[in-house]
């Protein structure tokens, strides 16, 4: 079911976003949290898989805006934290119930066959109507830990025990795998990657 958004609602949302961004721009260090960021993002409003439905096995890379790939460079072995967010809507034209989102790191440029690390959770349920917001956080370090928030955000427990990432330039992407017959309207996805210092 769709609903026409009133102009005043659009203005309210845009205003809130602007206020948050202005607050960030005015405070380069906020709560002990330096904001050294590049603006990167996944292509918004994409359908995953781009054609057809999930097959229960294949992981599909989320398409990235080509001008905004999510890259980071480490000069030495370094522990990192990431926060991975997604807003999606699950449909099931061919059956199925759940879709799972993972966040993966590959040496840059992105190569899905050479993912060096991946963790996942964010179990999205077709039984939840409309768009679902969820988040997965992860620390790659001496004893990696992870967690999730959001409706039904169970961990996938696919992580491996990995110490600090070696020096190098990496790219982060989100990926989706779903039960046979499911399909996703992927509204937007975002990842923050953080390291010690500032």
């Amino acid at each position: 079911m769709t609903r026409i958004v009133r102009p005043d609602e659009i203005g309210r949302d845009l205003g809130a976003t602007d206020r948050r961004l202005q607050k960030l721009e005015r405070a380069p260090v906020l709560n002990n949290f330096p904001l050294i960021s590049t603006v990167n993002r996944a292509t918004q409003n994409q359908t995953v898989p781009p054609g057809g439905n999930f097959d229960g096995v294949t992981k599909y890379d989320i398409a990235m805006d080509p001008n905004f790939a999510c890259l980071f460079t480490l000069m030495a072995p370094t522990p990192i934290i990431w926060f991975s967010y997604a807003t999606i809507k699950v449909s099931a034209p061919g059956g199925g119930n759940f879709v799972y989102l993972t966040t993966a790191v590959s040496v840059s440029p992105w190569n899905p066959a050479q993912v060096v690390f991946e963790s996942g959770s964010q179990l999205f349920d077709k039984g939840i109507g409309g768009y679902i917001q969820s988040e997965h956080h992860y620390v790659i370090g001496p004893q990696p830990t992870e967690g999730s928030i959001g409706p039904g955000a169970a961990l996938l427990n696919i992580t491996t025990n990995l110490g600090p990432l070696p020096a190098g330039t990496y790219e982060v992407r989100q990926r989706l795998v779903g039960d046979v017959g499911t399909q996703v309207a992927y509204y937007q996805g975002n990842v923050q990657v953080l390291a010690p210092g500032g």
Partner: protein, 88 residues
Amino acid sequence: MTEDKKSFVDRKDADRIARRDLPDFVAGAMLRAPFPVSAERQTQMVEDLLPTIVEAVVDGSWPLSANGRLTFRLIGTTAPSVPEPKRN
């Protein structure tokens, strides 16, 4: 960077420092989240992150700043550019 950094912080102090600094860090990070994250969930996130951060402080791979605080550097991010959709 973590090279040649050795910690002289014991586990008890590392735990105290992480419990002091992580809540503000998570709150700051969540200002960039594409959707609101409740205080309750932020507390849950702190608890999730705590064990690894404590270990990293103890083994020196997450060095403290000169004033003894835990610091974080945002090295990569994606960014929302449109408002989140309304739930049906």
